[in-house]
């Protein structure tokens, strides 16, 4: 990156700095809503709804205190349990499947792969009606198990594609060498292939967690009390008959956003893969 600039470009060097201006402008536009809701979260209750809006004020943690005194932390805990449960379950299934699809030639394998991929695009609205009845058959209304199973569809689909890419890159020779050493197929998988795709597994886990933390519509329909997730709680905890607690709502939104931003930074090199269903990179 820091290589010397070719001679024919030296004279353009000064002009290139002009690009900082639009770049900073663009960044400011995309950062503004985050800054604004962030500042709402620290505003004292009496100025939250000021008009014109106050830009300068002495920040307070009152809104966050309200968030942590409400039922919102329970919803955060539910979200976390569901997200981690989904991630572990779906990445486990996906690792097995991706390896199977990467190493063995089935007939019509491509059709199977595309079918799995297409599930990621399944509109939630298509399944909310049947799911709301199916969870009742199995007595899984409002449970972690139901949410983990439902979210797994989307995450297995994504993780299979992501991990298949990683498995495809392992040289065949490494596995053949292990086989000659007397490893059975399962041991080749667990002792040779899996350790080599740990970065892929970590990426899949992170994206899976982000997906589950963010999802709204399915959780909105399938949870009522016990398994309510944080996005669902956002829609009801701070909205009372006396009106909406906008400061609390902003603080709660920031509490939900903060870990996602950290995760996003962690997987920044795989963002494209992550956002394109594990397909492009």
């Amino acid at each position: 990156m820091s290589a010397a600039i070719p001679a024919n470009q030296v004279k353009h060097r000064g002009r290139r700095f002009v690009w900082y201006l639009p770049a900073i402008l663009i960044t400011a536009v995309f950062a503004f809503p985050l800054y604004w809701i962030g500042s709402m979260a620290f505003k004292p209750a009496r100025i939250v709804q000021n008009y014109p809006p106050s830009f300068r004020f002495s920040p307070t943690l009152d809104n966050f205190r309200q968030v942590f005194d409400s039922t919102y932390p329970d919803a955060m805990r539910n979200s976390l349990i569901i997200a981690v449960g989904t991630a572990v379950f779906s990445v486990f299934c996906a690792t097995l499947t991706a390896y199977g699809l990467s190493r063995h030639n089935f007939r019509r394998k491509d059709n199977l792969l595309f079918w799995i991929l297409s599930l990621r695009m399944l509109p939630a609205v298509a399944v909310i009606v049947p799911y709301s009845r199916m969870v009742r058959w199995f007595d899984l209304q409002d449970t972690y198990a139901a949410m983990i199973l439902v979210y797994s569809i989307f995450n297995i689909s994504f993780s299979v594609w992501l991990l298949k890419g990683f498995f495809d890159e392992i040289p065949k020779e490494m596995e053949e060498a292990a086989r000659i050493d007397g490893y059975g197929p399962w041991k080749v998988f667990t002792d040779v292939a899996v350790p080599l795709v740990i970065p892929g597994i970590a990426t899949a886990l992170v994206f899976s967690i982000i997906f589950s933390i963010n999802e709204f519509l399915l959780a909105f329909v399938l949870t009522q009390r016990e398994a309510v997730t944080a996005p669902v709680a956002l829609t009801n905890v701070f909205i009372t008959t006396f009106g909406v607690n906008w400061g609390g709502l902003s603080a709660a939104a920031m509490v939900l956003v903060a870990p996602v931003i950290v995760f996003a930074v962690l997987v920044r090199n795989h963002l494209l893969r992550g956002m394109s269903f594990g397909q492009l990179d």
Binding site: N111, S118, P123, M275, D281
Partner: protein
């Protein structure tokens, strides 16, 4: 979804050269793949079929159901508000995708420069697409509030009066589009930046005018990322729910209801389960067509990039 369903199951894997492991090897891939596939079928194909079955029935609140054949679909297709909501969903999709595409491309062209610190700016720009659509909807709901919203104040300062974002239909549409644009332009930028990496060298060294370079070198390379961005965003925006549910609640009246919101309202709030299922089937069919196109396109782009990597002996 079942764009290419029915492909499963295949028969024996190709026979292995090592006869010692042949038996094990034949069963092994099956053990790896089968549980997941069975799970996915149980959780997707089955619900979709069940949803179709429900759409052919009339459910009463007590849970009793009567077979009514295609009546739900007939009623739906002759319902003017259904077509109005379909048209509204399409309008939002077209506006949002078009704006995201243009802005995404412009942002990518700016952020593609090799300047110190731009990596950090890019990371900040990418943040919105990682956030929950529901949280993003609340961000905009707060900023567009009629009494204390910061954008309301901006508009007033700029001499547009005090706009009622969610009362006026045009402004309500614009608010929904703006929310989608803020969240998803970064995704288009990300796709375009990846595409631009491929042309970077060629475009930098070219001596032609900037516009000529863009037309003759950059744009052709970007055709595939552009198509992929369009399909991704079309599929996603067509199922838009959160922004509408939070920002306008479908209002004024039900004029900003998308098909997803309609399916939810009909199926859950009005408990017309059969009709809700019928609406969602309509969404499934539309999205299935789009998804099939997208997947074919991505498969082609993947093949091309593999070929380019092999030819160029990438590092």
């Amino acid at each position: 979804m079942s764009s290419s369903a029915g492909s499963f199951p295949p028969d024996n894997p190709q026979s292995s050269p090592e006869s010692r492991y042949a038996g094990q090897l034949r069963a092994f891939p099956w053990l790896l793949v089968a549980p997941t596939v069975i799970l996915l079928i149980a959780l997707t194909i089955f619900p979709l079929i069940y949803s179709l079955y429900m759409s052919l029935h009339n459910f009463t609140l007590g849970g009793a159901k009567t077979w009514i054949g295609l009546d739900n679909y007939r009623d739906l297709l002759s319902d003017r508000s259904f077509w109005r909501k379909t048209w509204f969903t399409l309008q939002i999709t077209i506006f949002a995708v078009a704006i995201e595409l243009v802005l995404g491309l412009l942002c990518a062209l700016v952020l593609n420069k090799r300047l110190r610190g731009l990596g950090l700016l890019r990371m900040i720009v990418y943040i919105p697409m990682m956030l929950s659509p529901l949280v993003v909807a609340y961000f905009w709901r707060i900023m567009l509030d009629g009494s204390f919203g910061v954008f309301t104040w901006f508009a007033q300062e700029l001499g547009f009066g005090k706009p009622q974002w969610t009362v006026d239909l045009t402004l309500a549409k614009a608010s929904i589009v703006a929310t989608d644009v803020w969240q998803w332009t970064p995704f288009v930028t990300l796709l375009m930046l990846a595409g631009l990496q491929a042309v970077h060298e060629a475009a930098e060294l070219d001596k032609g005018t900037r516009w000529m370079t863009f037309r003759s070198i950059t744009l052709p390379y970007l055709m595939t990322p552009i198509l992929i961005a369009v399909l991704f965003r079309t599929i996603d925006t067509f199922k838009l729910f959160e922004a509408v549910y939070i920002i306008t609640q479908g209002g004024p009246g039900d004029l900003t209801e998308t098909l997803s919101l309609m399916a939810y309202t009909v199926g859950f709030e009005q408990s017309r389960i059969g009709m809700g299922a019928a609406i969602s089937w309509f969404v499934v069919v539309v999205i299935n067509v789009l998804a099939t196109l997208l997947i074919m396109l991505m498969a082609r782009s993947r093949r091309e990039s593999v070929m380019m990597a092999e030819v160029g002996d990438d590092e």
